[in-house]
Protein backbone atom coordinates (compact mmCIF):
# COMPACT_ATOMS: atom_id res chain seq x y z
CA UNK A 1 0.00 0.00 0.00
CA UNK A 2 1.02 3.61 -0.64
CA UNK A 3 3.77 2.67 -3.08
CA UNK A 4 3.96 5.26 -5.87
CA UNK A 5 6.22 5.81 -8.85
CA UNK A 6 4.79 8.78 -10.67
CA UNK A 7 7.58 8.84 -13.28
CA UNK A 8 6.54 5.37 -14.42
CA UNK A 9 2.87 6.34 -14.19
CA UNK A 10 2.29 3.99 -11.29
CA UNK A 11 -0.21 6.23 -9.57
CA UNK A 12 -0.31 4.56 -6.21
CA UNK A 13 -1.77 1.88 -4.03
CA UNK A 14 -4.63 2.96 -1.80
CA UNK A 15 -5.90 1.58 1.47
CA UNK A 16 -9.61 2.41 1.34
CA UNK A 17 -11.39 -0.45 -0.41
CA UNK A 18 -13.29 0.94 -3.41
CA UNK A 19 -12.05 4.51 -2.89
CA UNK A 20 -9.50 4.42 -5.70
CA UNK A 21 -11.92 3.43 -8.46
CA UNK A 22 -13.08 7.06 -8.78
CA UNK A 23 -9.40 8.15 -8.82
CA UNK A 24 -8.63 5.81 -11.72
CA UNK A 25 -11.73 7.08 -13.49
CA UNK A 26 -10.42 10.63 -12.99
CA UNK A 27 -7.02 9.69 -14.40
CA UNK A 28 -8.86 8.31 -17.43
CA UNK A 29 -10.89 11.52 -17.62
CA UNK A 30 -7.61 13.44 -17.79
CA UNK A 31 -6.41 11.18 -20.62
CA UNK A 32 -9.52 12.10 -22.61
CA UNK A 33 -9.39 15.78 -21.61
CA UNK A 34 -5.74 16.06 -22.65
CA UNK A 35 -6.30 13.89 -25.75
CA UNK A 36 -3.51 11.51 -24.79
CA UNK A 37 -2.90 8.01 -26.08
CA UNK A 38 -3.10 6.24 -22.73
CA UNK A 39 -5.21 3.73 -20.89
CA UNK A 40 -5.62 3.42 -17.13
CA UNK A 41 -5.46 0.04 -15.37
CA UNK A 42 -7.22 -0.12 -12.01
CA UNK A 43 -6.76 -3.16 -9.75
CA UNK A 44 -8.97 -4.18 -6.85
CA UNK A 45 -10.34 -7.25 -5.14
CA UNK A 46 -13.85 -8.61 -5.33
CA UNK A 47 -14.45 -7.07 -1.90
CA UNK A 48 -14.53 -3.63 -3.58
CA UNK A 49 -17.20 -4.61 -6.09
CA UNK A 50 -20.31 -4.08 -3.93
CA UNK A 51 -19.05 -0.69 -2.65
CA UNK A 52 -20.93 2.43 -3.62
CA UNK A 53 -17.81 4.18 -4.87
CA UNK A 54 -17.14 1.34 -7.32
CA UNK A 55 -20.59 1.71 -8.84
CA UNK A 56 -20.35 5.50 -8.97
CA UNK A 57 -17.05 5.09 -10.82
CA UNK A 58 -18.49 2.46 -13.20
CA UNK A 59 -21.37 4.76 -14.05
CA UNK A 60 -19.21 7.83 -14.73
CA UNK A 61 -16.68 5.82 -16.75
CA UNK A 62 -19.45 4.33 -18.89
CA UNK A 63 -21.32 7.63 -19.19
CA UNK A 64 -18.28 9.52 -20.46
CA UNK A 65 -16.59 6.59 -22.28
CA UNK A 66 -13.36 6.89 -20.31
CA UNK A 67 -10.39 4.64 -21.14
CA UNK A 68 -10.12 2.76 -17.84
CA UNK A 69 -9.81 -0.99 -17.48
CA UNK A 70 -11.19 -2.18 -14.15
CA UNK A 71 -9.39 -5.37 -13.14
CA UNK A 72 -11.07 -7.31 -10.38
CA UNK A 73 -8.82 -9.92 -8.82
CA UNK A 74 -11.46 -12.21 -7.42
CA UNK A 75 -9.64 -14.28 -4.82
CA UNK A 76 -12.96 -15.22 -3.21
CA UNK A 77 -12.22 -13.73 0.20
CA UNK A 78 -12.68 -10.12 1.31
CA UNK A 79 -10.30 -10.39 4.24
CA UNK A 80 -12.02 -13.34 5.95
CA UNK A 81 -15.49 -13.09 4.40
CA UNK A 82 -16.09 -15.42 1.47
CA UNK A 83 -17.75 -13.94 -1.58
CA UNK A 84 -20.80 -16.14 -1.01
CA UNK A 85 -21.46 -14.32 2.25
CA UNK A 86 -20.60 -10.83 0.97
CA UNK A 87 -22.13 -10.39 -2.48
CA UNK A 88 -25.74 -11.32 -3.19
CA UNK A 89 -25.14 -12.16 -6.84
CA UNK A 90 -21.65 -13.63 -6.53
CA UNK A 91 -21.66 -16.07 -9.42
CA UNK A 92 -20.72 -13.56 -12.12
CA UNK A 93 -19.03 -10.37 -10.97
CA UNK A 94 -18.67 -9.16 -14.55
CA UNK A 95 -22.44 -8.72 -14.57
CA UNK A 96 -22.03 -5.83 -12.09
CA UNK A 97 -20.13 -3.89 -14.73
CA UNK A 98 -22.45 -4.98 -17.55
CA UNK A 99 -25.30 -3.49 -15.57
CA UNK A 100 -23.64 -0.10 -16.19
CA UNK A 101 -23.19 -0.79 -19.90
CA UNK A 102 -19.51 -1.72 -19.53
CA UNK A 103 -18.13 -4.60 -21.61
CA UNK A 104 -16.85 -7.27 -19.27
CA UNK A 105 -15.10 -10.63 -19.37
CA UNK A 106 -14.06 -13.29 -16.89
CA UNK A 107 -10.69 -14.98 -17.20
CA UNK A 108 -8.86 -17.72 -15.32
CA UNK A 109 -6.52 -15.58 -13.27
CA UNK A 110 -4.25 -18.57 -12.66
CA UNK A 111 -3.53 -18.90 -16.41
CA UNK A 112 -0.76 -16.42 -17.20
CA UNK A 113 -1.02 -16.82 -20.97
CA UNK A 114 -4.79 -16.42 -20.99
CA UNK A 115 -4.52 -13.22 -18.92
CA UNK A 116 -1.77 -11.93 -21.20
CA UNK A 117 -3.77 -12.57 -24.38
CA UNK A 118 -6.87 -10.98 -22.91
CA UNK A 119 -5.01 -7.89 -21.71
CA UNK A 120 -3.33 -7.37 -25.10
CA UNK A 121 -6.71 -7.49 -26.79
CA UNK A 122 -8.50 -5.30 -24.26
CA UNK A 123 -5.77 -2.65 -23.98
CA UNK A 124 -5.70 -2.33 -27.78
CA UNK A 125 -9.47 -2.09 -27.92
CA UNK A 126 -9.70 0.60 -25.22
CA UNK A 127 -6.81 2.51 -26.79
CA UNK A 128 -8.41 2.62 -30.23
CA UNK A 129 -12.01 2.96 -29.10
CA UNK A 130 -12.00 4.69 -25.68
CA UNK A 131 -14.42 3.13 -23.24
CA UNK A 132 -14.23 1.39 -19.87
CA UNK A 133 -13.77 -2.36 -19.65
CA UNK A 134 -14.15 -4.76 -16.74
CA UNK A 135 -12.11 -7.92 -16.25
CA UNK A 136 -12.77 -10.46 -13.56
CA UNK A 137 -9.65 -12.58 -12.98
CA UNK A 138 -10.55 -15.56 -10.84
CA UNK A 139 -7.67 -16.33 -8.52
CA UNK A 140 -6.85 -17.27 -4.96
CA UNK A 141 -4.89 -15.86 -2.03
CA UNK A 142 -2.34 -18.42 -0.77
CA UNK A 143 -1.26 -16.36 2.22
CA UNK A 144 -3.20 -14.70 5.01
CA UNK A 145 -4.89 -11.35 4.55
CA UNK A 146 -2.05 -9.61 6.39
CA UNK A 147 1.07 -10.40 8.39
CA UNK A 148 -1.21 -11.00 11.37
CA UNK A 149 -3.38 -13.53 9.55
CA UNK A 150 -2.09 -17.13 9.24
CA UNK A 151 -2.19 -18.86 5.86
CA UNK A 152 -5.66 -20.14 6.52
CA UNK A 153 -7.39 -19.28 9.76
CA UNK A 154 -10.86 -19.93 11.00
CA UNK A 155 -12.49 -18.86 7.77
CA UNK A 156 -11.01 -21.48 5.41
CA UNK A 157 -9.40 -24.91 5.66
CA UNK A 158 -5.82 -25.98 5.14
CA UNK A 159 -7.12 -28.53 2.62
CA UNK A 160 -8.72 -25.77 0.56
CA UNK A 161 -5.52 -23.69 0.53
CA UNK A 162 -3.37 -26.71 -0.33
CA UNK A 163 -5.67 -27.66 -3.23
CA UNK A 164 -5.53 -24.11 -4.61
CA UNK A 165 -1.76 -23.99 -4.33
CA UNK A 166 -1.62 -26.69 -7.00
CA UNK A 167 -3.05 -24.09 -9.40
CA UNK A 168 -0.31 -21.56 -8.61
CA UNK A 169 0.15 -19.61 -11.88
CA UNK A 170 3.95 -19.81 -11.60
CA UNK A 171 3.81 -23.59 -11.22
CA UNK A 172 1.39 -23.97 -14.12
CA UNK A 173 3.36 -21.63 -16.39
CA UNK A 174 6.55 -23.58 -15.65
CA UNK A 175 4.82 -26.80 -16.73
CA UNK A 176 3.55 -25.18 -19.91
CA UNK A 177 6.98 -23.82 -20.82
CA UNK A 178 8.57 -27.23 -20.39
CA UNK A 179 5.76 -29.13 -22.15
CA UNK A 180 5.81 -26.81 -25.13
CA UNK A 181 9.62 -26.76 -25.11
CA UNK A 182 9.72 -22.98 -25.00
CA UNK A 183 12.50 -23.22 -22.46
CA UNK A 184 14.54 -25.80 -20.59
CA UNK A 185 14.70 -26.51 -16.92
CA UNK A 186 18.12 -24.83 -16.88
CA UNK A 187 16.66 -21.71 -18.54
CA UNK A 188 13.97 -21.52 -15.89
CA UNK A 189 16.43 -22.04 -13.06
CA UNK A 190 18.59 -19.25 -14.46
CA UNK A 191 15.54 -16.98 -14.74
CA UNK A 192 14.47 -17.78 -11.19
CA UNK A 193 17.96 -16.99 -10.01
CA UNK A 194 17.97 -13.65 -11.83
CA UNK A 195 14.59 -12.69 -10.40
CA UNK A 196 15.76 -13.77 -6.95
CA UNK A 197 18.74 -11.45 -7.28
CA UNK A 198 16.55 -8.51 -8.30
CA UNK A 199 14.30 -9.09 -5.29
CA UNK A 200 17.28 -9.56 -2.96
CA UNK A 201 18.81 -6.31 -4.23
CA UNK A 202 15.53 -4.48 -3.62
CA UNK A 203 15.33 -5.85 -0.09
CA UNK A 204 18.96 -4.89 0.53
CA UNK A 205 18.33 -1.39 -0.81
CA UNK A 206 15.32 -1.03 1.49
CA UNK A 207 17.19 -2.37 4.52
CA UNK A 208 20.15 -0.10 3.91
CA UNK A 209 18.12 3.05 3.19
CA UNK A 210 18.05 5.42 6.14
CA UNK A 211 14.80 6.21 7.90
CA UNK A 212 13.66 9.80 7.38
CA UNK A 213 14.87 12.32 9.91
CA UNK A 214 12.14 13.54 12.28
CA UNK A 215 12.66 17.01 10.83
CA UNK A 216 10.93 15.72 7.67
CA UNK A 217 7.66 15.23 9.54
CA UNK A 218 5.81 18.15 7.95
CA UNK A 219 7.29 17.89 4.48
CA UNK A 220 4.75 17.40 1.70
CA UNK A 221 1.63 18.08 3.76
CA UNK A 222 1.29 21.14 1.53
CA UNK A 223 3.15 22.33 -1.54
CA UNK A 224 4.05 25.84 -2.63
Amino acid sequence: MHLVDADRKFMGGYAIVGGHLPLATGLAFAVTYQKRDRVVLCFFGEGAVPSGQAHEAFNLAALWKLPVIFICENNRYAMGTPITRGIALYADLADKARAHGIQAETVDGMDVLAVRALMQRVVNKVRTDPQPYFIEAVTYRFMGHSMADPAHGHYRTKEEVDAERKKDPLVLLRQTILEQRVGTDADLKRLEHEVGEIVAAAVKFADESPFPDPSALEEDVYTE
Partner: protein
Protein backbone atom coordinates in the same frame (compact mmCIF):
# COMPACT_ATOMS: atom_id res chain seq x y z
CA UNK B 1 -17.88 47.99 -9.70
CA UNK B 2 -20.86 46.94 -7.56
CA UNK B 3 -21.64 43.27 -8.11
CA UNK B 4 -23.22 40.37 -6.24
CA UNK B 5 -21.31 37.62 -4.46
CA UNK B 6 -22.72 35.22 -7.08
CA UNK B 7 -21.41 37.36 -9.93
CA UNK B 8 -18.02 37.65 -8.21
CA UNK B 9 -17.68 33.87 -8.14
CA UNK B 10 -18.83 33.68 -11.74
CA UNK B 11 -16.20 36.23 -12.81
CA UNK B 12 -13.43 34.50 -10.87
CA UNK B 13 -14.11 31.10 -12.46
CA UNK B 14 -14.68 32.57 -15.92
CA UNK B 15 -11.41 34.51 -15.83
CA UNK B 16 -9.47 31.49 -14.61
CA UNK B 17 -11.02 29.16 -17.18
CA UNK B 18 -10.11 31.61 -19.94
CA UNK B 19 -6.59 31.89 -18.54
CA UNK B 20 -5.87 28.18 -18.06
CA UNK B 21 -7.19 25.31 -20.21
CA UNK B 22 -6.55 22.84 -17.39
CA UNK B 23 -9.33 24.38 -15.30
CA UNK B 24 -12.75 22.75 -15.63
CA UNK B 25 -15.98 22.84 -13.63
CA UNK B 26 -17.74 19.67 -12.54
CA UNK B 27 -20.79 19.07 -10.37
CA UNK B 28 -24.53 18.67 -10.23
CA UNK B 29 -26.43 21.08 -12.49
CA UNK B 30 -23.43 23.28 -13.25
CA UNK B 31 -24.06 23.19 -17.01
CA UNK B 32 -27.44 23.58 -18.61
CA UNK B 33 -29.21 24.42 -15.35
CA UNK B 34 -26.53 27.15 -14.90
CA UNK B 35 -25.78 26.01 -11.35
CA UNK B 36 -28.31 25.35 -8.59
CA UNK B 37 -27.65 28.93 -7.43
CA UNK B 38 -26.82 30.26 -10.91
CA UNK B 39 -23.15 30.74 -10.11
CA UNK B 40 -22.09 29.18 -13.43
CA UNK B 41 -24.48 31.18 -15.57
CA UNK B 42 -23.31 31.20 -19.18
CA UNK B 43 -20.48 28.74 -18.63
CA UNK B 44 -21.61 25.80 -20.74
CA UNK B 45 -22.34 28.25 -23.57
CA UNK B 46 -18.82 29.73 -23.39
CA UNK B 47 -16.70 26.71 -22.49
CA UNK B 48 -18.75 23.77 -23.77
CA UNK B 49 -19.70 20.47 -22.19
CA UNK B 50 -16.10 19.27 -22.21
CA UNK B 51 -15.15 21.79 -19.53
CA UNK B 52 -18.50 22.28 -17.77
CA UNK B 53 -19.60 18.84 -16.70
CA UNK B 54 -23.04 18.02 -15.36
CA UNK B 55 -22.82 14.95 -13.16
CA UNK B 56 -25.25 12.45 -11.73
CA UNK B 57 -26.03 12.84 -8.02
CA UNK B 58 -22.98 10.88 -6.92
CA UNK B 59 -20.72 13.12 -4.86
CA UNK B 60 -18.16 10.46 -3.95
CA UNK B 61 -17.82 9.43 -7.58
CA UNK B 62 -17.40 12.84 -9.17
CA UNK B 63 -15.28 14.27 -6.36
CA UNK B 64 -13.02 11.24 -6.61
CA UNK B 65 -12.90 11.64 -10.38
CA UNK B 66 -11.80 15.25 -9.87
CA UNK B 67 -9.07 14.16 -7.44
CA UNK B 68 -7.79 11.69 -10.06
CA UNK B 69 -7.90 14.38 -12.76
CA UNK B 70 -5.95 16.73 -10.48
CA UNK B 71 -3.32 14.03 -9.89
CA UNK B 72 -2.90 13.91 -13.67
CA UNK B 73 -2.25 17.66 -13.83
CA UNK B 74 -5.68 19.15 -14.44
CA UNK B 75 -7.18 21.89 -12.23
CA UNK B 76 -10.72 20.82 -11.40
CA UNK B 77 -13.29 22.99 -9.67
CA UNK B 78 -15.88 20.76 -8.00
CA UNK B 79 -19.16 22.48 -7.24
CA UNK B 80 -21.04 20.85 -4.40
CA UNK B 81 -24.66 21.90 -4.59
CA UNK B 82 -24.25 22.38 -0.85
CA UNK B 83 -21.59 21.19 1.57
CA UNK B 84 -24.18 18.97 3.22
CA UNK B 85 -23.83 16.71 0.19
CA UNK B 86 -20.06 16.92 0.49
CA UNK B 87 -20.42 14.55 3.43
CA UNK B 88 -20.94 11.82 0.83
CA UNK B 89 -17.55 12.74 -0.63
CA UNK B 90 -15.69 12.88 2.68
CA UNK B 91 -13.73 9.71 1.92
CA UNK B 92 -12.41 11.29 -1.27
CA UNK B 93 -11.70 14.61 0.42
CA UNK B 94 -10.10 13.31 3.62
CA UNK B 95 -8.50 10.04 2.53
CA UNK B 96 -7.43 11.02 -0.96
CA UNK B 97 -7.35 14.75 -1.74
CA UNK B 98 -5.78 15.75 1.58
CA UNK B 99 -3.23 12.93 1.82
CA UNK B 100 -2.05 11.94 -1.63
CA UNK B 101 0.78 14.45 -1.66
CA UNK B 102 2.03 13.26 1.72
CA UNK B 103 1.54 9.56 1.00
CA UNK B 104 3.40 9.85 -2.31
CA UNK B 105 6.36 11.67 -0.77
CA UNK B 106 5.61 14.73 -2.87
CA UNK B 107 5.44 12.86 -6.19
CA UNK B 108 1.76 13.64 -6.73
CA UNK B 109 -0.20 16.81 -6.02
CA UNK B 110 -3.92 17.50 -5.94
CA UNK B 111 -4.59 21.04 -7.19
CA UNK B 112 -8.32 21.05 -6.62
CA UNK B 113 -11.04 23.46 -5.49
CA UNK B 114 -14.19 22.10 -3.87
CA UNK B 115 -16.70 24.89 -3.56
CA UNK B 116 -20.33 25.47 -2.69
CA UNK B 117 -22.53 26.89 0.02
CA UNK B 118 -22.36 25.95 3.67
CA UNK B 119 -24.43 27.13 6.67
CA UNK B 120 -28.15 27.72 7.03
CA UNK B 121 -30.41 29.62 4.70
CA UNK B 122 -34.07 30.07 5.66
CA UNK B 123 -35.83 26.95 6.90
CA UNK B 124 -34.08 24.34 4.80
CA UNK B 125 -34.09 21.83 7.62
CA UNK B 126 -31.48 19.76 9.42
CA UNK B 127 -29.88 18.14 6.38
CA UNK B 128 -29.46 21.33 4.35
CA UNK B 129 -28.30 23.84 6.96
CA UNK B 130 -24.96 22.71 8.33
CA UNK B 131 -21.76 24.65 8.94
CA UNK B 132 -19.08 21.99 8.57
CA UNK B 133 -15.95 24.14 8.24
CA UNK B 134 -14.47 22.74 11.47
CA UNK B 135 -14.52 19.24 9.95
CA UNK B 136 -12.37 20.35 7.02
CA UNK B 137 -10.09 22.57 9.12
CA UNK B 138 -9.30 19.52 11.25
CA UNK B 139 -7.66 17.67 8.34
CA UNK B 140 -3.97 18.23 7.54
CA UNK B 141 -3.47 18.76 3.82
CA UNK B 142 -6.58 20.85 3.23
CA UNK B 143 -6.85 24.63 3.09
CA UNK B 144 -10.20 26.15 3.98
CA UNK B 145 -11.48 29.49 2.69
CA UNK B 146 -14.76 31.18 3.66
CA UNK B 147 -15.10 34.68 2.19
CA UNK B 148 -17.92 37.01 3.21
CA UNK B 149 -17.86 39.76 0.57
CA UNK B 150 -17.98 39.78 -3.24
CA UNK B 151 -14.51 41.35 -3.33
CA UNK B 152 -12.98 38.67 -1.15
CA UNK B 153 -14.93 35.91 -2.88
CA UNK B 154 -13.54 36.84 -6.28
CA UNK B 155 -9.94 37.40 -5.24
CA UNK B 156 -9.78 34.33 -3.04
CA UNK B 157 -11.46 32.01 -5.55
CA UNK B 158 -8.93 33.03 -8.19
CA UNK B 159 -6.10 32.30 -5.76
CA UNK B 160 -7.72 28.99 -4.79
CA UNK B 161 -7.91 27.88 -8.43
CA UNK B 162 -4.20 28.71 -8.89
CA UNK B 163 -3.16 27.04 -5.64
CA UNK B 164 -1.42 23.66 -5.99
CA UNK B 165 -3.19 22.22 -2.90
CA UNK B 166 -6.75 20.99 -2.33
CA UNK B 167 -8.91 23.91 -1.21
CA UNK B 168 -12.29 23.80 0.49
CA UNK B 169 -14.07 27.01 -0.54
CA UNK B 170 -17.18 27.64 1.55
CA UNK B 171 -19.83 30.06 0.33
CA UNK B 172 -23.32 30.73 1.74
CA UNK B 173 -26.74 30.73 0.14
CA UNK B 174 -27.69 33.91 1.97
CA UNK B 175 -24.57 35.65 0.62
CA UNK B 176 -25.12 34.93 -3.09
CA UNK B 177 -27.37 37.95 -3.66
CA UNK B 178 -25.48 40.36 -1.39
CA UNK B 179 -23.65 43.10 -3.26
CA UNK B 180 -20.34 44.82 -2.78
CA UNK B 181 -17.64 46.81 -4.53
CA UNK B 182 -15.14 44.77 -6.50
CA UNK B 183 -11.90 46.05 -8.02
CA UNK B 184 -11.99 46.49 -11.76
CA UNK B 185 -9.82 44.10 -13.72
CA UNK B 186 -7.61 41.28 -12.64
CA UNK B 187 -6.75 40.82 -8.97
CA UNK B 188 -6.16 38.04 -6.48
CA UNK B 189 -6.20 37.91 -2.67
CA UNK B 190 -3.59 35.71 -0.98
CA UNK B 191 -4.90 32.68 0.88
CA UNK B 192 -4.09 32.90 4.58
CA UNK B 193 -4.55 36.66 5.06
CA UNK B 194 -7.16 38.04 7.44
CA UNK B 195 -8.54 41.53 7.02
CA UNK B 196 -9.63 44.10 9.56
CA UNK B 197 -13.07 44.99 8.21
CA UNK B 198 -13.73 47.74 10.72
CA UNK B 199 -11.26 49.58 12.93
CA UNK B 200 -11.90 49.94 16.63
CA UNK B 201 -10.16 49.81 19.98
CA UNK B 202 -12.72 48.68 22.57
CA UNK B 203 -13.32 45.06 21.63
CA UNK B 204 -12.30 42.67 18.83
CA UNK B 205 -14.98 40.64 17.09
CA UNK B 206 -13.74 37.80 14.89
CA UNK B 207 -16.34 36.57 12.41
CA UNK B 208 -16.31 34.95 8.97
CA UNK B 209 -18.65 34.12 6.11
CA UNK B 210 -22.14 35.46 6.70
CA UNK B 211 -21.49 35.95 10.43
CA UNK B 212 -19.19 38.80 9.36
CA UNK B 213 -22.23 40.75 8.16
CA UNK B 214 -23.85 40.21 11.55
CA UNK B 215 -20.71 41.34 13.37
CA UNK B 216 -20.49 44.50 11.25
CA UNK B 217 -24.14 45.27 11.91
CA UNK B 218 -23.62 44.97 15.67
CA UNK B 219 -20.41 47.01 15.48
CA UNK B 220 -22.35 49.81 13.80
CA UNK B 221 -24.96 49.78 16.57
CA UNK B 222 -22.29 49.73 19.26
CA UNK B 223 -20.48 52.70 17.70
CA UNK B 224 -23.45 54.93 18.39
CA UNK B 225 -23.14 53.89 22.03
CA UNK B 226 -19.47 54.76 22.18
CA UNK B 227 -18.19 51.21 21.91
CA UNK B 228 -15.73 50.85 19.07
CA UNK B 229 -15.53 47.27 17.96
CA UNK B 230 -12.74 46.13 15.68
CA UNK B 231 -14.07 43.48 13.34
CA UNK B 232 -11.58 40.96 11.95
CA UNK B 233 -12.48 38.56 9.14
CA UNK B 234 -10.01 35.66 8.90
CA UNK B 235 -11.33 35.00 5.35
CA UNK B 236 -9.09 31.92 5.24
CA UNK B 237 -9.85 29.55 8.12
CA UNK B 238 -6.86 27.32 7.42
CA UNK B 239 -4.09 28.38 7.40
CA UNK B 240 -5.40 30.89 9.93
CA UNK B 241 -3.85 34.36 10.02
CA UNK B 242 -3.49 34.38 13.77
CA UNK B 243 -1.12 37.33 13.69
CA UNK B 244 -3.78 39.79 12.53
CA UNK B 245 -6.22 38.54 15.19
CA UNK B 246 -3.59 38.69 17.94
CA UNK B 247 -2.54 42.19 16.91
CA UNK B 248 -6.11 43.35 17.27
CA UNK B 249 -6.54 41.61 20.62
CA UNK B 250 -3.35 43.24 21.91
CA UNK B 251 -4.95 46.58 21.07
CA UNK B 252 -8.44 45.93 22.48
CA UNK B 253 -7.78 43.35 25.23
CA UNK B 254 -11.14 41.75 24.57
CA UNK B 255 -12.29 39.13 22.08
CA UNK B 256 -15.66 37.85 20.90
CA UNK B 257 -15.71 35.08 18.28
CA UNK B 258 -18.85 34.59 16.20
CA UNK B 259 -19.42 31.39 14.23
CA UNK B 260 -22.54 29.70 12.93
CA UNK B 261 -21.21 26.16 13.41
CA UNK B 262 -21.93 23.97 16.39
CA UNK B 263 -20.38 25.07 19.66
CA UNK B 264 -18.66 21.84 20.74
CA UNK B 265 -15.26 21.54 19.02
CA UNK B 266 -16.20 24.43 16.76
CA UNK B 267 -13.65 26.58 14.95
CA UNK B 268 -13.97 29.35 17.53
CA UNK B 269 -12.62 27.00 20.18
CA UNK B 270 -9.45 26.65 18.14
CA UNK B 271 -9.16 30.40 17.59
CA UNK B 272 -9.67 31.02 21.32
CA UNK B 273 -7.03 28.45 22.23
CA UNK B 274 -4.53 30.00 19.84
CA UNK B 275 -5.22 33.52 21.12
CA UNK B 276 -4.88 32.38 24.74
CA UNK B 277 -1.53 30.83 23.86
CA UNK B 278 -0.19 33.97 22.20
CA UNK B 279 -1.91 36.90 23.91
CA UNK B 280 -3.10 35.74 27.34
CA UNK B 281 -1.39 38.60 29.15
CA UNK B 282 -3.11 41.15 26.94
CA UNK B 283 -6.64 39.94 27.67
CA UNK B 284 -8.75 41.94 30.11
CA UNK B 285 -11.61 39.44 29.98
CA UNK B 286 -12.27 35.83 29.14
CA UNK B 287 -12.82 35.22 25.43
CA UNK B 288 -16.52 34.74 24.67
CA UNK B 289 -17.81 32.62 21.80
CA UNK B 290 -21.15 33.11 20.07
CA UNK B 291 -22.00 29.92 18.18
CA UNK B 292 -24.77 27.88 16.69
CA UNK B 293 -26.53 25.71 19.24
CA UNK B 294 -25.60 22.04 19.51
CA UNK B 295 -28.76 20.73 17.84
CA UNK B 296 -29.64 19.50 14.35
CA UNK B 297 -31.02 22.59 12.63
CA UNK B 298 -34.76 22.73 13.38
CA UNK B 299 -37.21 23.44 10.59
CA UNK B 300 -39.68 25.57 12.60
CA UNK B 301 -38.77 29.22 12.18
CA UNK B 302 -38.71 30.21 15.88
CA UNK B 303 -36.52 27.20 16.67
CA UNK B 304 -34.21 27.87 13.74
CA UNK B 305 -33.84 31.47 14.89
CA UNK B 306 -33.00 30.18 18.36
CA UNK B 307 -30.23 27.97 16.97
CA UNK B 308 -28.33 30.60 14.96
CA UNK B 309 -26.28 33.54 16.37
CA UNK B 310 -28.12 36.86 16.16
CA UNK B 311 -27.66 40.53 17.10
CA UNK B 312 -28.90 40.04 20.62
CA UNK B 313 -26.42 37.27 21.36
CA UNK B 314 -23.48 39.08 19.81
CA UNK B 315 -24.34 42.21 21.82
CA UNK B 316 -24.63 40.13 24.99
CA UNK B 317 -21.20 38.64 24.33
CA UNK B 318 -19.70 42.09 23.84
CA UNK B 319 -21.30 43.19 27.10
CA UNK B 320 -19.78 40.21 28.85
CA UNK B 321 -16.23 40.91 27.72
CA UNK B 322 -16.75 44.56 28.67
CA UNK B 323 -18.12 43.51 32.07
CA UNK B 324 -21.27 45.51 31.35
CA UNK B 325 -24.47 44.23 32.94
Amino acid sequence: MLISYREALNQAMREEMRRDDRVFLIGEEVGYYQGAFKVSKGFVEEFGQGRVLDTPITEAGFTGLAVGAAMAGLRPIVELMTFNFGILAMDQIVNNAAKIRYMSGGQLSVPLVIRGPGSAAHQLGAQHSQSLEAWFCHVPGLKVVAPATPHDAKGLLKSAIRDPNPIIFIEAQLLYSTKGEVEDGEYTIPIGQAEVKRQGDTVTIVAYSKMLLLALEVAEELASEGIHAEVVDPRTLKPLDLETIVQSVKKTGRLVIVEEGWRFAGLGAQIADSVYAQAFDYLDAQIVRVTGEDVPMPYARPLEDAAIPDRVRVRAAVNRVLHRG
